[in-house]
Amino acid sequence: VGNAQAEPRELDQDEFRQLLEGRIQASLGMSLGEFIVALRERRLDPESPRVAALAILVGARAD
């Protein structure tokens, strides 16, 4: 197998948003902006598997 190792990658703001847009759209059928608003308005269950994972990536905070 060997011991080769790839390097992690820093994404700029646009790249990271684009990555999150794609994942949120694929899992929940909504945009990043809609997801953030839906979390703030508590219209999504923050403990369901995909919502929980995506919520920590967007940096959501339940205040």
Partner: protein, 184 residues
């Protein structure tokens, strides 16, 4: 050997570089890192593939989902140094790469900022058991789980094929580093 970091940027780079080591034991996937769009100064990292395919000899593949949220803070143990502080993690083992919730089999969760009513690390086992209705919805207390421990579990217990020959040494070393420098 300790690697001091004198700036937040150095601490961020060090953190992700060391976290790449256990991931490299499982796959050629990489961590991708970015600033959290709705998280102020927080950063997030996730794997380059939404669900990382994990080969298993003679058995169906499994898929890993892994995400973390972290911030950079002064390291009060070492004058003038910075460290990363984990704010949340989710590691999940899935039986397919379909994005729905139904593919999840086991997961390790800690997400106190999004669920203040559930501040502690826990495990989900998405299974049914005749003697314990609702098992899949339980939040099983776990203590803090390191990504290295998940990687070890995937290889040693679930039979995932290691992606490098020295995986045992790498996981032992990085887990030792995590345990030496963790603050909680």
């Amino acid at each position: 050997v300790r690697e001091p970091t004198k700036t937040p940027g150095q601490a961020r780079t060090r953190y992700v570089r060391f976290l790449q080591l256990p991931l490299s034991c499982l796959s050629q996937a990489i961590w991708v890192v970015g600033d959290s769009p709705d998280g102020g100064d927080d950063a997030s990292l996730t794997t380059s593939q939404d669900f990382v395919r994990l080969k298993r000899e003679g058995r169906s593949a499994l898929f890993l989902e892994a995400s973390q949220r972290f911030e950079l803070v002064p390291d009060h143990r070492f004058d003038g140094e910075w460290k990363s502080k984990t704010l949340a993690y989710i590691y999940a083992v899935r039986d397919s790469d379909e994005p729905g919730d139904g593919a999840e089999v086991i997961s390790w969760h800690w997400h106190p900022l999004t669920t203040p009513q559930r501040p502690d690390p826990h495990v989900h086992v998405r299974a049914d058991h005749a003697g314990l209705a609702g098992l899949s919805g339980l939040h099983i207390p776990s203590g803090r789980v390191a990504f290295e421990e998940v990687a070890l579990f995937l290889i040693a217990d679930l039979g995932c094929t290691p992606a490098r020959d020295d995986w045992r040494d790498v996981l032992e070393d990085t887990l030792g580093r995590f345990r030496a420098y963790r603050t909680w």
